[in-house]
Structure formats: structure tokens, C-alpha cells
């Protein structure tokens, strides 16, 4: 498999264009990675809608949980997938089918999640696809916060950082 690479400018534009994220595979357990990501994105001003059939009807971090993407009664621009690579294919197809109704523009698969066939289908349908990345880590990296933890952002710039 070839390594994935995404240009900094591309990811920055993408993260700045999104306002609402549907998180498939959200967890109510406070020590789970998905909970960390949801809380962080909320803190950055994103609305995050949790999707998890097992927890449907309940609440996570003040947001109602839905059992599927189609159940969410409003629009969302991004789908963040916290499931394995195989399940990500099925979820991607759901998102492709719902893209006009829900206003979906971006499919984001979490770290270690990668489905190249699903990526091609989604890109053919006009969606942006990011795989094997975490939006929390990428947000932190691009907006300077990851560097606070000694992590290599790979960014070289003589411009002041604007958040």
C-alpha cells in the first residue's frame, strides 16, 4: 500500500469549511479515543453528532445519539468514521447516497482506518476523502497546538499563526 499524504493547505481549508460532523462509532466512555476527539472538536467550535446504534436515544457530551446517518434530522458536512476499514466501506456508501439530502462534503476515516475502494467511490461522487488520520491531531497540528507537545508538525513558516 502506498503511504497517504495530504497537503497542509488542503487539510486546513477542509477543516475550516466544516461546521457539523457526524461521528460514527462514538462512545460514551470517557477514556475512549472517540470521546477525546468529540470533546476536542466541540471545544474548537464544531458541532459533533454521535452515531451509534447501541446508544441511540441517549446523549453524549450534550448531543443526542442517532442509530444511523439517515436518522440525523439535519445537515452535516463531514462524516468521521471510528469503525474498522471494512465497516468504513458500508458507511461511505450510505454517505454517498445521502450526500445531497444531508449536505455531506467530506468522508474522514480515523487513524488505522483505510478503504481505498470506498475512497474511489466517494471521490467519484464528488466527496473529499481523508483516510488514516485523526481530525483532532490534524487540527492540532495545523493550528499549532500539537507542537506544544513536542510533536513534529512538519510546518515551516515565517508567518504569524492565525487561529
Amino acid at each position: 500500500m502506498t503511504a497517504l499524504s495530504y497537503a497542509n493547505e488542503y487539510l486546513t481549508d477542509l477543516l475550516q469549511s466544516v461546521k457539523t460532523v457526524a461521528m460514527v462509532g462514538a462512545s460514551a466512555k470517557t477514556n475512549r479515543p472517540s470521546y477525546f476527539v468529540m470533546k476536542y472538536l466541540q471545544g474548537k467550535g464544531y458541532r459533533v453528532i454521535p452515531v451509534n446504534p447501541g446508544l441511540a436515544g441517549g446523549e453524549i457530551l450534550g448531543e443526542k445519539v442517532y442509530s444511523s446517518l439517515s436518522d440525523i434530522p439535519h445537515t452535516f458536512e463531514m462524516v468521521d468514521i471510528f469503525r474498522n476499514s471494512e465497516a468504513a466501506g458500508v458507511i461511505t456508501d450510505e454517505a454517498i447516497a445521502l450526500r445531497e439530502e444531508k449536505g455531506i462534503k467530506v468522508i474522514w476515516m480515523q487513524l488505522t482506518v483505510r478503504n481505498d475502494e470506498a475512497c474511489v467511490r466517494a471521490e467519484d461522487a464528488g466527496l473529499d476523502v481523508i483516510m488514516d488520520r485523526c481530525p483532532k491531531i490534524e487540527y492540532g497540528r495545523l493550528f499549532g497546538e500539537l507542537s506544544w507537545g513536542g510533536i513534529n508538525s512538519g510546518i515551516i513558516s515565517s508567518k504569524r499563526l492565525k487561529r
Binding site: 470521546y35 513536542g150 513534529n152 515551516i156 515565517s158
Partner: protein, 428 residues
């Protein structure tokens, strides 16, 4: 704009720029010294997120500090690593790296050609924590194959060793470590990322004494631990501290949560937090400034070292010179392969007349400083058997390349002919 185009910068550019954008509030171009212990929280929820590691930010300078963070990112970048943690000294870096890997009763493998202080740290002080080291002659691949077992938690080497002028076959040693499901941990202090890139040759973790060439001017103690980010801690199946729920963080698993920088997070948020060897912001600033000229300094260190080594090799009072940059060195080929820009500026030579002649020489130099350090702008000399390696037995001294007739030089940036004249006068 293409989705997949990433800009690449040269190592000299990165030595100057990586990690240090202009300050977002003031526009200050150079990195400010954030001489502060602590940082205010926005509110109680923000504080809780920070303590739970759910958001990035500063709490207390024992864990993170904005000036130290710039240095950490710069070193991580120069080593082509994913993340780095800086700390008070090279020795604390080694301690913290092993604390993230070892349980009491565990064993690790280490090259016997190490800085004498590391041999003592591993062999004597680590033992009291239940961390057991097996030393091996890492110049002998057969010996390593015999010694290494899947029970070892790590293999630690100095690819360019202090003090002996020994260069190791890093890639071959990495392959053996990986066959046995353990990371290769590399002390890159003597070569620096300007001469040698361990992550391109199989290493998984790098430690540094930034005290030496990185800070470079003999001003500031410091250490760093760098993570490449590709070692699969879970599959290796023997790193519970990284893979099992952490009781101090509500059952969070570091490798699962932070992935390719999970080792660094563990090292910072548990090791550095609980043992406390933090780097001071002022030392971080001095080291950042040092690194900005590292590429120029290493070039000249190497040029001067080669001139001095050539001079000594032809001197009648000198019995041998061990510098991997000399064609006479048994490590010349490996040095050409792994560090073609030069084999550093620290090397040893033997004086005729043994221990007494060694002591006499260090007392007779005028320009070169007799002290226990390396990697300064100034040229330095020491007689290991009477100083850094005196805790070792004579057998251990000889095994570590620090026998009674051995002198170690760290060649500085003075006029090469002045360094040579000083040695010439002291030898006669």
C-alpha cells in the same frame, strides 16, 4: 492546489526554522524564553480536559513549556521523527526512555561500547530498579545473534560510540532487534542528525545528550528522546505500560489513543511528570540557538578532527589513533556508508608510556581544556581511565575503549594548526 503535494525543506533550513514560527501574539521572530512554571486555565472544564489529555495545552512546566516545546519539535523534525520529549540531561533521557519500556525484572540488551556513564547507569543504578542489562560486543553480529532473545525489551547502541571511534552496522543491528520484537534505541549524541540519520537505518527511538553538539557551546545541560512512530507496540505484545489501561489516566491506553506518538506521550505524561527531570526554558533557548548553526559547526568539527587525527597518527609518541574518519580505522568503511559527511569530532588515541604519560599530557596542554565534556566549540581532552571511566574495572575500561593509555579528544572549532601545535608541544 493539489491534495497530495507536501513541501520538503532541507535539513539546514529545518535546523533554523522547524518548530519556531513567529509568536502569534507579538510577532516576535525569535523564540521567547517562557520563564514560567505554570499557565492559567480558561475555566474548570478546560483544566479537566488538559489533565485528562483530552486537549493540547500547557499546565505546568514540569510537563511542557512553550520554549522547550520549540526545541522538542526542532529535534523531532531534524531526526525525521514523529515527536520528541526534552529533559534535564542525556542521562535523564535514557532513564525516561527505559521507564516507558521496562517493568521490574525485565532485561534489555546494550552495546558495550558506550559512554562510561551509561555503562554505570545501566549496569549499576538500573539494576536497583529491577531493570537488567546484558552487554554485548555490538561490532560482532554473531555475538549479538547469540546474546539477543525475545525477552529483551530493547537494544541500546551508540552507532558512533564515545569514546572509542567505533561505528556500528546500525541497520543489521536493527534487523536483529526487530526479528526479536524489540525497538532499536540509538544514542545519536556524537553524530547528531547532521552526520547520521538513525531512523533511515532501522532505529525506532533516539536519545540525545543535547548538552553536547546540539547546544554546542558548553553552556547548557539537556536531553531528548525522539520517537520514529512506526514501531508496533501492540503486536510486539510485551509493552504493557504502552498498551494496557493506565490507572493514572482513568484507564486510557497510550498507544491506542495517541498512536504514532503514544510512546512520547507516555514518556512525558507519566515518566517526566512523576520523576520530574524537566529541562529549563533558558537551557532550551540556548540549545535552540545552538542548533541553528549545527550544520556549519559539524562540518568544521569534522574538518578539524580529521586534520588533528592525521597529525597524531604520524607522531612518534603516539602508538595508535582510533578515528573512524581515518582510512586506517577498521570502522572506516562503515563510517563511509552510514555517515559520509564525517565520523564526528570525538576520538581516542594512545600515548606511549601508558597511564602516567596520559595523565602528564592532559596536564601539559595549554589551549585544549582538560575537562569531562564533549561537543563544545572549544577543543577538549580527557584521560578516561583516571576520570569518566574510573568507576569501571580495567577489563571494562579496555572493553569500552578506555584503557590506561587512552586519551579522548573532542576537537573544537579553533584554528586547526593551533590545536595541533598545542598537542605537539604537550607531547614533547
Amino acid at each position: 492546489m493539489s491534495k497530495h503535494t507536501i513541501k520538503n525543506y532541507g535539513i539546514e533550513t529545518r535546523a533554523i526554522h522547524a518548530g519556531s514560527r513567529p509568536d502569534s501574539e507579538t510577532g516576535a521572530r525569535n523564540t521567547p524564553i517562557y520563564q514560567t512554571t505554570s499557565y492559567v486555565f480558561d475555566d474548570a472544564d478546560h483544566a479537566a480536559d488538559l489533565f485528562n489529555l483530552q486537549t493540547f495545552g500547557f499546565i505546568y512546566s514540569r510537563l511542557t513549556n512553550p520554549t522547550v516545546a520549540v526545541l522538542e519539535e526542532r529535534i523531532a523534525n531534524l531526526e525525521n521523527g514523529r515527536a520528541a520529549v526534552c529533559c534535564a540531561s542525556g542521562h535523564s533521557a535514557q532513564f525516561l526512555a527505559f521507564f516507558s519500556l521496562m517493568e521490574p525484572g525485565d532485561r534489555f540488551l546494550a552495546s558495550r561500547n558506550l559512554y562510561g556513564g551509561s555503562i554505570t547507569q545501566f549496569g549499576t543504578s538500573f539494576k536497583r530498579l529491577g531493570w537488567h542489562v546484558d552487554f554485548v560486543d555490538a561490532t560482532d553480529l554473531e555475538a549479538v545473534k547469540q546474546a539477543i532473545t525475545p525477552d529483551h525489551k530493547a537494544f541500546f547502541i551508540e552507532p558512533l560510540a564515545n569514546p572509542g571511534g567505533v561505528v556500528l552496522d546500525t541497520q543489521a543491528l536493527a534487523d536483529l532487534a526487530h526479528e526479536n520484537n524489540m525497538p532499536l534505541v540509538v544514542d545519536n549524541t556524537l553524530a547528531t542528525p547532521m552526520l547520521f540519520q538513525p531512523f533511515d537505518h532501522g532505529a525506532d527511538i533516539i536519545t540525545h545528550s543535547t548538552t553536547k553538539f546540539l547546544a554546542g557551546h558548553g553552556t547548557s545541560m539537556g536531553g531528548a528522546i525522539v520517537e520514529k512512530g512506526t514501531f508496533d507496540w501492540a503486536t510486539a505484545g510485551k509493552y504493557p505500560t504502552l498498551c494496557e489501561p493506565d490507572p493514572a489516566y482513568h484507564g486510557m491506553r497510550f498507544f491506542e489513543t495517541f498512536g504514532d506518538f503514544g510512546f512520547s506521550m507516555k514518556t512525558r505524561c507519566v515518566g517526566l511528570r512523576d520523576f520530574g527531570p524537566a529541562m529549563s526554558p533558558t537551557n532550551a533557548f540556548n540549545t535552540i540557538t545552538g542548533i541553528e548553526t549545527l550544520h556549519l559547526r559539524m562540518e568544521r568539527h569534522v574538518q578539524n578532527a580529521l586534520k588533528v587525527a592525521n597529525f597524531l597518527e604520524n607522531h612518534p609518541k603516539v602508538s595508535w589513533v582510533s578515528y573512524a574518519g581515518l582510512p586506517s580505522s577498521p570502522y572506516y568503511e562503515l563510517a563511509q556508508k552510514y555517515m559520509p559527511k564525517g565520523a564526528g569530532s570525538v576520538f581516542t588515541f594512545g600515548v606511549k608510556g601508558g597511564y602516567e604519560a596520559g595523565v602528564k599530557l592532559v596536564e601539559s596542554v595549554n589551549l585544549i581544556s582538560h575537562l569531562a565534556n564533549i561537543g563544545d566549540t572549544r577543543s577538549l581532552i580527557i584521560h578516561p581511565a583516571s576520570t569518566t571511566h574510573r568507576q569501571l574495572t580495567e577489563d571494562q575500561q579496555i572493553a569500552a575503549g578506555a584503557g590506561p593509555d587512552v586519551l579522548r579528544l573532542s576537537i573544537g572549532l579553533e584554528t586547526a594548526d593551533d590545536i595541533i601545535r598545542d598537542l605537539d608541544e604537550a607531547l614533547s
